[in-house]
């Protein structure tokens, strides 16, 4: 009996120590693997970027399943809120509509005039642009990154560098493309630099993200006359974004920098549109064409 008990204790102790050894071994193994990946990512960034896109592709069905009920809750709360403020909303919309009709008339008149003047000058119109519409399945906004993962990839014709828009406002650009998913880097992200032009003065600047909700204007000319409420549009410089896409409004001046509030509400986007500006052709966009040519023989 005693022998039996000792024996079982021994078996138990051996099993336990084996588990501990195995545990330590697997910890060491995976820790080394992580460090190896980090080093590999530093020496061969292209490989790791592709691996990351693949990985996101693989987990996208899970993200999609999680995103759907959240989007539903979002729509439902929005609906309830809109019921509650239906009367005020209606009144506000009536006044807004009256103002907009006046603007519409003005715009129609201007469009006509513009067309005539362009005909006089023999102006080459900008080619029309191709669109891809996609659903947002993950908002990976955090302290370190502002980006979205969307359900459209290279299969749907998405390519790196496409401009992303919500409604009529620019929100960012495509930086990573998998087969079925891609990642949009928002203009609020730390590494986003967007060439913009200020409406009214026509001054150029760079809109620089810093992971906060409001990116800042950099490289404004000295003595520039920026006011709170000035609208900011893309300038089209650099050939990544089309010109004259609304981006945001200057809303504050703090610590010597002008803050721009993006026109699209960055936190609540379900559908976004990707515009292939590069499709317009090499002659129209020489820089992008060169990049494309350098990339293609791979």
């Amino acid at each position: 009996m005693l022998v039996h008990k000792r024996r079982s204790e021994w078996v138990y102790a051996t099993a336990l120590s084996w588990r501990v050894v195995l545990h330590r071994f697997s910890f060491a193994l995976f820790f080394t693997l992580s460090l190896g990946l980090l080093v590999l990512g530093h020496t061969r960034p292209a490989v790791m970027d592709r691996a990351r896109a693949r990985f996101v592709d693989t987990v996208s069905p899970v993200l999609d399943v999680v995103a759907r009920p959240l989007a539903m809750v979002d729509t439902m709360t929005a609906r309830v809120q809109s019921y509650r403020s239906l009367l005020e909303e209606n009144a506000r919309l009536r006044t807004e509509n009256a103002a907009l009709v006046r603007w519409q008339n003005a715009a129609l008149a201007l469009e006509n005039e513009n067309k005539e003047l362009r005909a006089l000058l023999n102006y080459k119109p900008e080619p029309s642009l191709a669109f891809v519409t996609a659903r947002v399945i993950a908002d990976t906004g955090g302290g370190f990154l502002r980006s979205l993962i969307i359900t459209a990839g290279s299969v749907d014709g998405v390519r790196e560098g496409m401009a992303a828009m919500a409604g009529e406002a620019l929100i960012g650009r495509v930086v990573e493309v998998g087969d079925w998913t891609s990642r949009v880097l928002l203009i609020t992200d730390m590494s986003s630099r967007l060439p913009v032009v200020l409406m009214g003065t026509g001054e150029h600047a760079i809109l620089s993200g810093d992971n906060t909700a409001r990116p800042k204007l950099l490289y404004l000319p000295q003595e520039s006359d920026v006011r709170i409420g000035t609208r900011v549009m893309t300038s089209g410089h650099g050939g990544i974004f089309p010109p004259n896409v609304p981006v945001g409004v200057v809303t504050a001046h703090e610590n010597g920098a002008f803050e721009v509030t993006p026109m699209a509400s960055m936190g609540r986007m379900n559908q976004i549109r990707l515009i292939d500006f590069n499709l317009a052709g090499g002659a129209f966009n020489p820089i992008a064409a060169k990049i494309q040519a350098a990339k293609s023989p791979r």
């Binding site: 545990h23 995976f30 693997l33 980090l38 990976t140 302290g143 980006s147 993962i149 730390m190 590494s191």
Partner: protein, 128 residues
């Protein structure tokens, strides 16, 4: 940062089931989704896992407040390491304000995912 909550919770309560391979996978997922260098979160999570695993006695059977405080410290450590590593990686100081905001929010919301994990543990993994 909910991956961190999972790593923290399961390292304390069921390290026998929560093997390093899961920690590694969770870290990789976090890296891929947040566009961090692949392997960074995985390495950090594994270190935390090992740290908590060796110090488990402090946490097991404690009041929730102690667990919460432990998480606040763990998350602070993680955020600090991530901030330094990413700043070095991108060669520029990342702004602190959004990082701190995210940290505070995660710590404040910790009871919520922890409660869900606790219910899961009670429902499926109760040690007889």
């Amino acid at each position: 940062m909910f991956g961190l909550v999972a790593v923290y919770y399961w390292s304390i309560y069921r390290p026998d089931l929560f093997q390093p391979i899961f920690v590694f996978a969770l870290g990789l997922l976090n890296d891929a989704l947040h566009m961090m260098p692949l392997g960074l979160s995985a390495a950090i999570y594994l270190c935390l896992y090992q740290l908590i695993f060796t110090q488990r006695r402090i946490f097991v059977g404690q009041m929730f407040l102690v667990i919460w405080t432990g998480f606040a410290l763990t998350a602070l450590l993680t955020v600090a390491v991530q901030w330094v590593a990413l700043s070095l990686y991108r060669d520029q100081m990342l702004s602190l304000q959004p990082v701190l905001l995210q940290y505070l929010l995660t710590v404040a919301l910790f009871p919520l995912p922890a409660w869900v994990l606790m219910r899961l543990q009670r429902a499926f993994l109760s040690q007889g």
